[in-house]
Amino acid sequence: MLKVFYGLPKRIIFCKKTLMSNQQPNSALEFYHTKKSKKKTLFIDKHGVSDAWKYSRIKKKIKWINREKKLLNLLNRFRGKGEFDCLVPGSGGKDSCFAAHVLKYKYGMNPLTVTWPPILYTSYGKKNFLNWIKSGSFQNISAKRNENFFKIATKLSILNLFHPFQTFILGQKNFAVKIAEKLKIPLVFYGENEAEHHNAIADNSSSLRNKSYHTYQNLESIYIGGVKIKDLMNDYKFKFKDIEPILPININKLIKFPVEVHYLGFYLKWIPQETFYYAVENCGFRPRPFRTQGTYSRYNSIDDKIDDLHYYTTFIKFGIGRCSYDISQEIRNDHITRDEGLKLIKKYDGEFPDIYFSEIMKYLEINENYFFKLQNKFRSPHIWKKVNKKWYLRHTANKDGVDD
């Protein structure tokens, strides 16, 4: 009997259409994320077709004119009120470029851009950020935080959870809402509507309050980097204010001032490739000057050096590399064929991101060799098999795994 980590489905199935596997985790509740956490994953039905594919077919039939009308109604309620009438979280990637620019220049809003900076900025990522602000003449607030805390939290996330991106995900989600409340901006717009989200509203006041309630009630039992907050503060001499930036907004503040968080991708037809063209043409966005390791593209999530490593860890834990994520999205958007997807996966999936690896390990003070030993502890036995001292996937989309 093969052991199965993370509560993943025992049998590995690939979606016939999108090539994504049923090991793909859906969004996790990061605050309760420990080694023992079980993941909710992508559902693939008995015909071998995933929910994500089904939603993409529904998306094709949507009448976008009606959705845009809904957007206009929403925007009309808030336009011109206060110093800023909406808030767009982002760091100058193609999606936030598109969202902020289109809200301002097509729909006449006055957005404030709010940035949770990458842990380690790439030089071209920083340039894209600056170009974004300059080209759109946007006001921007970038979070100032105790970098040492985030360095340690990131290090712990890798050592305990093999998940370098935890604090980034938390900060990106929670910081924007707090700024919105502080500056009395009632509307927050995220960009793309993930395949799993069928709603316009990412968070409304009640769901924000729920998050806040749980967090502040159970502050004692929250985990960051797989370590209890209490222990983090004690062991590393951190104060509450160091951790506060990534915590969700305090419930009391929300009672006084309700904030609505929407997905712009619910109202506008979101084609990732087209947001790339838009960002280049209007916001001075430039793709990475070389191919992103682990995939074939050059313009998705390129501002954080740790991003590449993050996708490598998903490959180790779930057998899903960055290329698999990219091609399943392109297939769902009818941009590439299943066949092309297979070829690309074979060529790039799981490629080790060595360009920034040493720099990241040095910054986080993790021994490189230790990292390589550590990664093997996170390979779920039902996904990986060791043959002659080397690790191989048991099953792949191309059906060339060692057990296929």
Binding site: S123, Y124, K269, I271, Q273, E274, F276, Y277, V280, E281, R286, P287, P289, F290, R291, Y296, S297, R298, Y299, N333, D334, H335, I336, T337, E340, K343, L344, K347
Partner: protein, 279 residues
């Protein structure tokens, strides 16, 4: 400025049998049916036509042979083909299908000796090397595989090497400017074209007729490669296609126009500015 006759060369990127147009060499926006564009450009006065298989290096395929066979039956100006060509056998296949010049990029970067061998067997004038240049923090480097892999080699040095190894012509593609329609990278084009003794083609950035004039006037190139400037105009002229797979989002939004600006208008513009051009 080179006082001999300047060539205007439309560049067509082809993927899965469709004409596409990227930006900074990424993205696969579909423009339409390539043979329609090709015939149209031929009738409007294209001096040569260049077809690049945009994903040949990525997938290791050679898909343009049938397409070129059809083109060579009705187009009687030089046809240049590139995309994933990395062996003598592939060059033979392409020439046998009707290609006049072979455009090589990735293979030349990975193995410069291939250019030596190819030019020896097929003649220098059949072998064109495309140099994809990228500018990072004021330094220029070259790339291969449609801008996917960067090599820390100076484009000027590489161009000279290719000339020495027998390349008959160089295409200087500026990745940073490509697809943006904001003008050419005059600096690198001048740097390379003024140092070589073989013909050079400038490519990447043409956004208006004035851009084309500037690159001819301020550098020593003998040919100008143009894609976005022509394709985004010409796509208004044809009936829209509706392929099942591919990024057709932009194509859907395009409205049909009967009168469009194309090669003929560009050439008259250049002639009025005293450029030697074939009319």
């Amino acid at each position: 400025m080179n006082k001999n006759f300047i060539r205007i060369i439309p560049f067509l990127d082809i993927k899965n049998g469709l004409l596409i147009k990227g930006i900074n060499l990424d993205g696969f926006r579909i423009m339409g049916e390539p043979s329609l564009f090709s015939d149209f450009y031929n009738k409007s006065g294209a001096d040569e036509i260049c077809y690049i298989d945009a994903v040949a290096s990525l997938f290791g395929t050679l898909n343009l042979t049938n397409f070129i066979k059809k083109c060579s039956k009705k187009i009687f100006v030089p046809l240049n083909i590139g995309g994933g060509i990395n062996s003598v056998d592939k060059i033979n296949k392409m020439l046998g299908s009707g290609a006049d010049k072979i455009v090589i990029n990735t293979a030349a970067v990975e193995d410069p000796f291939f250019i030596k061998e190819a030019s020896r067997i097929f003649g220098s004038s059949t072998i064109t090397v495309q140099i994809q240049t990228i500018k990072i923090n004021n330094n220029y480097y070259i790339t291969k595989s449609s801008g996917r892999d960067i090599e820390k080699i100076s484009p000027k040095d590489f161009a000279k090497k290719m000339q020495d190894y027998g390349a008959g012509e160089i295409i200087i593609t500026s990745i940073n400017h490509e697809g943006l329609k904001k003008g050419f990278d005059l600096k690198i084009i001048d740097e390379i074209s003024s140092k070589l003794q073989i013909p050079c083609i400038a490519h990447g950035g043409a956004g208006c007729f004035e851009d084309v004039y500037n690159v001819i006037n301020k550098t020593n190139i003998t040919g100008v490669g143009i894609a976005s400037l022509f394709h985004y105009e010409a796509m208004h002229y044809f009936k829209k296609i509706n392929p099942r797979i591919g990024n057709i989002n932009y194509l859907k939004s395009v409205k049909r126009k009967k009168k469009i600006n194309t090669i003929k208008e560009l050439k008259y513009f250049l002639k009025r500015k005293k450029i030697n051009i074939r009319l």
